[in-house]
């Protein structure tokens, strides 16, 4: 006897539709699917580790409030990253131009805390510092590519540019990061 086939998990579009009809579980499932990737994107974009959860919550708040604006032309994750990028820009402006990634705010390894799970390797920390110095579009293209594996078509649709321009931004980002991280 073969086990009954497991139904395919609902798509993000189906969950969004269910949430619009008042299904709280659909909202929870969407958060479960995307929260960790979103947190990593925020952290990689310069947010302090201690702010990541609040920023992720704010991103989901903006996303659910404007869910009608998500047409499905890009994946929900790319759309969430775009919202998160706008949120970080707003936070940056609110801080009157101060960099969000402060040198004293780095999550460097604490030698007195061997179990600290936020300890980042030196290489990762240098990459993160380098990312914080990139222009926003270069940084977002790079992160969508290396953290999500998104193709240039999808990146272009998410960020409102062309696939060719997205490819150029990616290669500029790689070149600059190589210089900054060297």
């Amino acid at each position: 006897m073969s086990a009954p086939p497991t139904p395919d998990p609902p798509t993000d579009a189906a969950l969004a539709a269910a949430y619009r009809l008042g299904d709280q579980r659909a909202a929870t499932e969407l958060v479960r699917r995307h929260a960790d990737a979103l947190g990593r994107f925020l952290y990689s974009s310069g947010a302090a580790a201690s702010d990541v959860e609040d920023l992720a919550q704010e991103t989901f708040f903006r996303a659910f409030r404007g869910l009608d604006g998500w047409r499905g032309a890009v994946s929900m994750r790319s759309w969430l990253f775009t919202i998160a990028g706008n949120l970080l820009r707003d936070e940056f402006r609110k801080s009157k131009g101060r960099k969000m990634l402060l040198l004293e705010d780095r999550d460097v390894a604490d030698p007195t805390d061997p179990h600290g799970n936020l300890a980042a390797s030196e290489a990762e920390e240098r990459v993160r510092e380098g990312l914080a110095r990139l222009p926003r579009l270069q940084r977002e293209v790079f992160l969508l590519r290396v953290q999500q594996g998104s193709g240039y078509e999808e990146i272009a649709a998410a960020l409102g540019t062309t696939p060719g321009a997205a490819r150029v931004h990616y290669h500029h980002a790689v070149k600059r990061l190589k210089e900054l991280v060297r």
Binding site: V31, S44, F64, Q147
Partner: protein
């Protein structure tokens, strides 16, 4: 496409564990310092933040939906408040207009809802000119300050059925709500608990009877 470009395009997939390097690619990586530097960079960037504590989805979703609920209530109250203020402004304008009409008619009538005005002070008829030799001194006319008696036919009414139908508690709530400054209502200034929410809902319930 050069081998370097091909490798560069595949790096994200390999870094995310969705693909593996072929033997040829591994040989190229070992020999090409530029590709090796890029691979180190991409591998490090793809793992950034992997050690962050996981977000609790239930808690986050509950907080987000609660914030959205608060915002909807506030938005509803704001709309209702603007509508009410617009209505009151309209009533005030109508009252000014009615007073102007009332004054234009010579002021004969009653103030709306008020007691009848006092009986007029008799105004003496204009006395005949006083002769003073060849010149005539005309008396200065007395100002007619006193108004005539109230005539029921000329009374001006200001019906306010939408307010009359409200109970006293609702009127009190409405007045309290109107006394609050509008500017303090922001989308993110949530109260620490839901007591503010209950108060807002009471105001809404009061307005809606």
């Amino acid at each position: 496409m050069t081998t370097c470009t091909l490798l560069s395009d595949r790096m994200p997939e390999v870094a995310l564990g969705r693909a593996r390097w072929t033997a040829d690619e591994e040989r190229h990586l070992a020999a090409c310092a530029d590709c090796r530097a890029e691979w180190t960079l991409v591998a490090a960037a793809s793992g950034l933040g992997a050690q962050l504590p996981p977000v609790d989805p239930e808690r986050t979703a509950a907080l987000v939906t609660e914030r959205l609920r608060h915002e909807r209530i506030r938005s509803h109250i704001r709309v209702r408040r603007v509508a009410l203020l617009t209505g009151l402004a309209g009533l005030a304008a109508a009252a000014v207009l009615a007073l102007a009409v009332w004054a234009g008619r010579g002021g004969r009538g009653t103030l709306p809802g008020g007691p009848p005005l006092p009986a007029p002070v008799p105004v003496a008829s204009t006395p005949p000119p006083v002769s003073a030799g060849d010149s005539q001194i005309l008396p200065r006319p007395e100002p007619r300050l006193a108004q005539g008696p109230v005539s029921p036919a000329s009374a001006v009414e200001f019906p306010m059925p939408e307010l009359d139908s409200l109970p006293a508690e609702a009127l009190d709530s409405m007045l309290r709500a109107l006394d609050e400054p509008l500017a303090h209502v922001g989308p993110y200034d949530l109260p620490p608990d839901d007591s503010g929410d209950r108060e807002l809902e009471q105001v809404l319930a009061g307005w809606e009877g």
